[in-house]
């Protein structure tokens, strides 16, 4: 009888509880059942998809278990002492304060454990440092706050492009009074164009930076390498599984450090070749565009897109900037002055300020478009335009 009774009591309590807190329970159920959020109690490192990432993971686990073993012994003796030798239980203190044998033992044993750890670590490290004999080289350049990927050793038109955060600002700007959009599945870990590499091929990354120090981190490859201005660091990967992998910039690089994700798409060789051919074709088109004629209206329209991607983070959507670090463009001397000055600022940047030199980052069409847009927007009414050819000639002159 008793078990039935208590079961009844429990179930009636449970249903009352459910009635009372139904909304809370619903919310909790949603939290714990949604697959995206289930992953959010992740405790450990990823094994990744390369031989090196697996070996790194194993090394990590080995050291954890060694630490756990040492911890059991050390904490064991400590807690035993805390319980066994209490004054309240009438413990009388011993008088020893020295024991050479014990001290030698606990100096030597850790030393041996350390050597046991150092051997496999050295092996993995040497493997990581072997970046020779790659089938493909990709230059990765960090900029505030986007990555540029350039495929080297190529024939035909060069494939070079930027990879920008594609999460819309409405999702992350949740300041009071702002209307926010719901956050997507890959919130802050999604880009407009991922880096694409072929599967099972040794790909070498050559990392550098165009402004401050960044760090290119792809946990599934166990690669984290700093992108440093004036340096060229090398790292290589043999990805063993196709798919989409996500990482982030790991070195504080200014205001939007938290907003420059890395996405890599690993494709089968045939799919990669197809993608690469398309990229080359598109690059050829851009080259052809430079000699094409545009109207002012066309450039303003194209310039809006370029502005939103490259300029808005600092100069803001309304062109008001964030003075004094990021000056306003609305009514500015540059955007309302001679065209030569505006071209110079955008192409070569401003020394000693956060304004970068976009001459090496953007195509002539994009630069001409964004300059034309800035001179004819935010209340600026210059009525003039820059042409891609003009930009191209200035780029070549330097």
């Amino acid at each position: 009888m008793l078990p039935t009774l208590s079961t009844n009591t429990i179930s009636s309590f449970f249903s009352a509880f459910c009635r009372r807190y139904s909304r809370l329970l619903l919310a909790l159920t949603l939290v714990f059942s949604s697959p995206a959020l289930l992953a959010s109690w992740t405790l450990n490192m990823r094994e990744g998809i390369t031989e090196i990432s697996r070996e790194t993971y194993n090394l990590h686990m080995t050291i954890i278990w060694i630490c756990v073993a040492i911890g059991v012994v050390v904490y064991g003796v400590l807690f035993y002492s805390l319980f066994a030798y209490r004054k309240s239980k009438g413990a009388v203190p011993a008088t020893f304060y020295h024991n050479t044998t014990a001290e030698i033992i606990w100096t030597v044993i850790p030393f041996i454990i350390l050597i046991a750890m150092a051997v496999p670590s050295t092996k993995v490290l040497m493997k990581i440092y072997d970046t020779d004999d790659s089938t493909m080289d990709i230059r990765i350049t960090g900029y505030q706050w986007r990555w540029q990927y350039k495929y080297l050793n190529d024939k035909g038109a060069p494939v070079v492009y930027f990879s920008n955060l594609s999460t819309p600002a409405e999702q992350y700007e949740n300041f009071p009074g702002k209307i926010s959009a719901e956050k997507g599945e890959h919130y802050l870990l999604e880009v407009d164009e991922p880096l694409v590499i072929p599967v099972n091929k040794k790909v070498r990354f050559l990392l550098t930076s165009g402004d401050v120090i960044h760090s290119w981190w792809m946990p599934d490859f166990a690669i984290k390498k700093d992108a440093i201005p004036g340096f060229m660091n090398a790292s290589s990967v043999i990805a063993e599984k196709t798919g989409i992998y996500r990482g982030q910039c790991a070195e504080l690089c200014g205001r939007n450090h938290g907003f420059m994700p890395i996405v890599v798409e690993v494709k089968e060789q045939a799919d990669f070749d197809k993608w690469y051919a398309e990229k080359q074709e598109a690059a050829q088109k851009v080259a052809d565009m430079t000699s094409k004629e545009f109207t002012r209206e066309q450039l303003v329209e194209m310039g809006q897109t370029v502005y939103n991607t490259y300029c808005m983070a600092c100069h803001q959507a309304n062109g008001q900037g964030l003075p004094p670090t990021f000056p306003a463009l609305a009514g500015s001397k540059v955007a309302n002055g001679p065209l030569e000055g505006h071209l110079d600022t955008v192409l070569h940047g401003r020394k000693g300020t956060a304004m970068a030199a976009f001459g090496t980052q953007l195509s002539p069409v994009d630069i001409a478009a964004v300059i034309t847009f800035e001179r004819n927007s935010f209340g600026n009414k210059m009525g003039d335009m820059a042409t891609p050819l003009q930009v191209y000639q200035l780029q070549q002159a330097k």
Partner: protein, 523 residues
């Protein structure tokens, strides 16, 4: 007993000038400790801004630029404003009383080295209200983010760092001069209390590396204002050079913040175990080895910068070696408790928590030393968890332990033991809720110094933020306990603690304004 009764040695002056003009080591110690506590609350407030923003994904409260200023200022204020001055304050109060000296060796310089600090921090904090905001490049201020790309206020930051450095160098010269010259006859080096030993070694570390810090900020100043290119690749300079110079200062700096903590714990554990410290000699040698090693491990902060393989291996091996002397210390503390007669007053609770949680930080430190694994840990929340485990339940807990331990000696009153224990347990629970989940966040892939994060990091960030507010507000209880103790309470005896040994416990409580005007006899 030790107070002279001629006319010049009456009590302290009255009013504000007592504190402005004082050359008394106890007054200056008090000033340092109050200043440190104020900075602890200020730096803690910055941390709570950070944790409030990270409570949920999305940007709710602060702009990313302000967020970066908060992480930077939190680090600078806690390192240079809270932890270091607290230890200098403890040294001021305790070193002369522990070695039987009448005061510090250079009392006027002592006054000066303290009074520079409030101005340095006022200047540094004022940058938050300047055009373009305060320092936003992290407390490690890597170039060129802190030079070419820095806000204009960086010059004030550089000047403030110079002032703090001058203060630290003067303070450490004073401590060295005191320990080496003013020990009572018979107090040989190997009879000094361990707190004195660890501070002697720390003071030498400070003198060695503070000028390096001054050098690196001066090079920044020249890059920013005088057209040099030390750290600018475009001008033929080297951004990685900055990191080498910074960490040549920065790694010994880490030990500057932990060696005196070792000293404090080595005083407290024997007292409440009623048993002599185990392995005194090896404690001294271990501390010296750690100090030596701290100069040859700096580039383990830079494993991802692309050092050559030989460099990576050297710094990996040398870093792993630190585990040996650190292990010796932990074993000695535990063996001191083994077969002792333990009681658990608040200082002892903090000291035991120190041993347990510092060891935990030591384990993650060992993991971080393994270069290939470090590629996955570097610049993630795993690192944040690691260094907070050694700095908060490490350095900060030892400071709190020291405060409870010597408070009866300073004020003449016992603190409220129940409130003290409550404060300990709130802090202990709070700190673990705050920092333990950060290990998981880092391993799962969350970078540090980001104002917003992907959805899979949401749960543990929320837990961590709850822990932060819990821990933060618990510290107001410490303020209350200290004020209550100053105002009154059960009168403390001279020895205060049953198992306490050492010269400071031969003095009456509260310790008279002037002590050991004639040196005490040493057995």
């Amino acid at each position: 007993m030790a107070t002279g009764h001629d006319d010049h040695h009456h009590g302290p002056a009255k009013g504000l000038t007592r504190w402005l003009y004082t050359t008394n080591h106890k007054d200056i110690g008090t000033l340092y400790l109050w200043f440190s506590f104020a900075m602890f609350l200020l730096g803690g407030t910055f941390a709570l801004v950070i944790r409030a923003e990270l409570f949920q994904p999305g940007l709710q409260f602060v702009d990313p630029n302000l967020f970066n200023q908060m992480t930077t200022m939190h680090g600078l204020v806690m390192v240079f404003g809270a932890v270091m001055p607290a230890f200098v304050g403890l040294a001021n109060w305790m070193v002369p009383m522990m070695i039987g000296a009448p005061d510090m060796a250079l009392p006027r310089m002592n006054n000066w080295s303290f009074w520079i600090l409030p101005f340095a921090f006022a200047m540094m904090s004022s940058t938050l209200f300047m055009d373009g905001g305060g320092p936003n490049f992290g407390w490690t201020f890597y170039a060129p983010l802190s030079t070419t790309f820095a806000p204009k206020s960086v010059t004030f930051f550089i000047f403030a760092v110079h002032m703090m450095g001058a203060s630290s160098i003067m303070g450490s010269i004073n401590i060295i001069a005191t320990i080496q010259n003013l020990r009572a006859p018979g107090m040989t080096y190997m009879k000094m209390p361990l707190f004195v030993w660890t501070w002697l070694i720390t003071a030498y570390l400070l003198i060695a590396v503070m000028p390096v810090l001054a050098g690196v900020v001066t090079m920044m100043l020249f890059d920013i204002h005088f057209g040099t290119s030390f750290f600018s690749a475009a001008g033929g300079g080297d951004p990685v050079l900055f990191q080498h110079v910074f960490w040549f200062f920065g790694h010994p700096e880490v030990y500057i913040m932990i060696l005196p903590a070792f000293g404090v714990v080595s005083e407290i554990i024997p007292t409440f175990s009623r048993k002599r410290l185990f392995g005194y000699d090896s404690m001294v040698y271990a501390t010296s080895s750690i100090a030596f090693l701290s100069f040859i491990v700096w580039a383990h902060h830079m494993f991802t910068t692309g050092m050559p393989l030989a460099g990576e291996l050297f710094f990996m091996y040398s870093t792993m070696l630190i585990a040996v002397p650190t292990g010796v210390k932990v074993f000695n503390w535990i063996t001191t408790m083994f077969k002792g007669s333990l009681s658990f007053e608040t200082p002892m609770l903090f000291a035991i928590a120190f041993v347990v949680l510092f060891t935990c930080g030591g384990f993650t430190g060992l993991m971080l030393a393994i270069a290939p694994a470090d590629f996955q840990y570097q610049d993630t929340y795993f690192v944040v968890a690691h260094f907070h485990y050694v700095l908060v339940p490490g350095a900060v807990f030892s400071i709190m332990a020291a405060a409870y331990y010597w408070l009866p000696k300073w004020t003449g009153n016992m603190y409220d033991e129940n409130l003290g224990k409550l404060h300990f347990w709130l802090s202990f629970i709070g700190i673990n809720i705050l920092f333990f989940p950060q290990h998981f966040l880092g391993l799962a892939g969350m970078p540090r110094r980001v104002p917003d994060y992907a959805l899979q990091f949401a749960n543990f960030n929320m837990v961590s933020s709850i822990g932060a507010f819990f821990f933060g507000f618990s510290q107001l209880l410490l303020l209350f306990i200290v004020i209550k103790t100053i105002k009154g309470g059960k009168k403390a005896t001279a020895q205060v603690w049953e198992g306490a040994e050492g010269l400071e416990w031969t003095l009456p409580s509260p310790a008279p304004y002037h002590t050991f005007s004639t040196p005490p006899p040493i057995k």
